[in-house]
Amino acid sequence: MTKLFLQLSLISIIFLSSCKPEDKPEPSIINLPAHFPEPVYKWTNNKLSFEKINLGRDLFYDPILSVDSTIHCGTCHAIEHAFADHNTALSFGVKGRVGKRNSPGLANLIWYKNFNWDGGVLNLETQPVAPIELHFEMAETISNVLKKLNNSTKYKQAFKTAFGSNEISSADMLKSLAQFMSSMISSNSKYDKYLRGEAMLNNFEMEGLELFKANCSSCHAGVLQTNFGFANNGLTEKKDSDFGRYLITLNEEDKWKFRIPSLRNVAITYPYMHDGSIFSLKTVIKLYSNGNNEIKDSRIPQDGFKFTAAQQDALYNFLITLTDFEFMSNPDLAPPF
């Protein structure tokens, strides 16, 4: 009898523990890298499941999201380019429309408080609304996407399985996209392996790392190489009518400031800068080395960091260690069809 009591108590304990809020993902679904900080997006109100992640992947790669079924998210965020564009300066939308900025690589999105070059979007779940609806991108309306999805037997069934709903809602669509995007975790570059004690950096790469730490890490900080801030690196003021961060905050001091990007997979995601104006990584290093009298950020000396040719090479070699080849060939992130 005591045994029966224990068994029943155990059952009730299991039920009790199931009442805890689902803050942390189940380890079997998404593994958070031990050497990364706490994520910002925590799947609150969006309980992780394989069905939802897979549904999000189907949507990510389906041109049904664009007005004329020509482009999908992967068109400008291609896995083989670390989810950046196909080495084009500016993103291309439907009907030959050219966007105003470079499509950034996507990785480790759950660590971001805001999105886009100007930081205008404040939640991973609502981010896809912008590319779907913007005239220069997919030029579609969310209500029409819902109409198309609700007319598809495949999606009706997939949403029913994933969310238990008979009618596909925008909230469920955005939540599944957020789940897929939250699974884009890049943590297996050579540099990650070095941090975990699984790989060595050579002398050249080590010299680059030291230079990077000393000169670049106030902006490109931490294991994700960004402090998540915005800066005016002097590239644009005279030629560019894109005011960047100012368009969101309307603070004068934010004019021509753009996101300080993570440098993860930076060797793969060329061309560089918000406007894709610099094609090679070596040119970027040279730019910061030589300086520019338009630079408006006190962290960057106007006459540059004055790296020698050998130091520039070392930095270049270090930046290559940030490439995560496993990320770019992860079948779970690749197009499903």
Binding site: M1, L4, F5, L8, S9, I11, S12, F15, L16, S18, C19, N45, N46, N114, N116, G120, V121, L122, N123, L124, E125, T126, V129, A130, I132, E133, L134, T141, I142, S143, L146, S169, S170, A171, D172, M173, L174, K175, A178, L247, I248, L250
Partner: protein
């Protein structure tokens, strides 16, 4: 002994099941209790000329006619004042009024605890939390056209139309009023006392008849200069002030 133990176990299990419910109701509310919120639209501060979309109305201060093609706005965070001065708050209190439905649009405030009420307060706009909490449903779903995709936030009041007075932008005005961040907060809170004590019960569904003067936007705004407001800022705040000034509680029905 065995029976007692088994009974005790059953109680433990039963209590763990019930403890999983998230929103335990701590009142004896009848779930069908409701109150009706009517939003009746007018042109002018005498509230005599009914207003509908796609019709020309003359504006004295503007000195020309104005026509609307769209008017939508959020009524949210509804609270009813009890006789003792405390408030009952509606849960998931987000309602979208759309003038496309005619001069009068309405919604029900539901699940109100039985009792007597003497007043109401609510917000025009969406509280900051829901602006940044990710994908929302119902009145807040993104497909309602009240969400800025590139600069996260809800449009609290969306008014569009035209006037011969506007020389630019093909004569169109576009007022997308919003902003939840401190410096440019365009959420406006309104409170009203009822003309009678209203009793809510399963057999009594009172009604509140609000009147909205949509001409109020230009009480103090130069339409020739301010015709395009599509992000948070000074103009959005001023127009949000004016819009809420035009809302009165005309009468109630017991």
């Amino acid at each position: 002994m065995q029976k007692i133990l088994a009974f005790a176990c059953a109680i433990i299990i039963a209590s763990t099941f019930t403890s999983c419910k998230k929103d335990e109701k701590n009142n004896n509310s009848n779930t069908v209790n409701a109150m009706e919120f009517k939003a009746d639209h007018y042109w002018g501060n005498t509230y005599t000329t009914g207003f509908t979309l796609n019709k020309n109305y003359y504006h004295m201060k503007v000195g020309d006619s104005i026509q609307f093609s769209m008017l939508k706005y959020y009524i949210t965070n509804v609270e009813l004042e009890k006789l003792d001065g405390t408030f009952w708050k509606e849960t998931e209190s987000y309602h979208l009024i759309d003038a496309n439905k005619g001069q009068l649009d309405k919604f029900d405030i539901k699940n109100i605890p039985s009792g007597e009420y003497k007043g109401i307060k609510f917000k025009i706009g969406v509280d900051s939390t829901r602006n940044v909490s990710g994908a929302q449903t119902g009145a807040l779903a993104v497909e309602n056209g009240m969400f800025w995709s590139w600069n996260t936030g809800y449009i609290f009041v969306r008014a569009e139309g035209s006037s011969p007075k506007i020389k630019d932008n093909n004569g169109n005005f576009v007022y997308h009023l919003g902003g939840f961040k401190q410096s440019n907060n365009a959420v406006r809170e309104l409170s009203f006392d009822f003309d009678n004590i209203l009793t809510v019960s399963s057999s009594a569904k009172p009604s509140m008849h609000f009147k909205v003067n949509v001409a109020r936007f230009w009480h103090d705004t130069d339409i020739e200069k301010v015709f395009k407001v599509h992000m948070p800022g000074e103009n959005a705040q001023k127009l949000a002030d004016l819009f809420s000034e035009g809302i009165i509680l005309d009468h109630t029905h017991r």
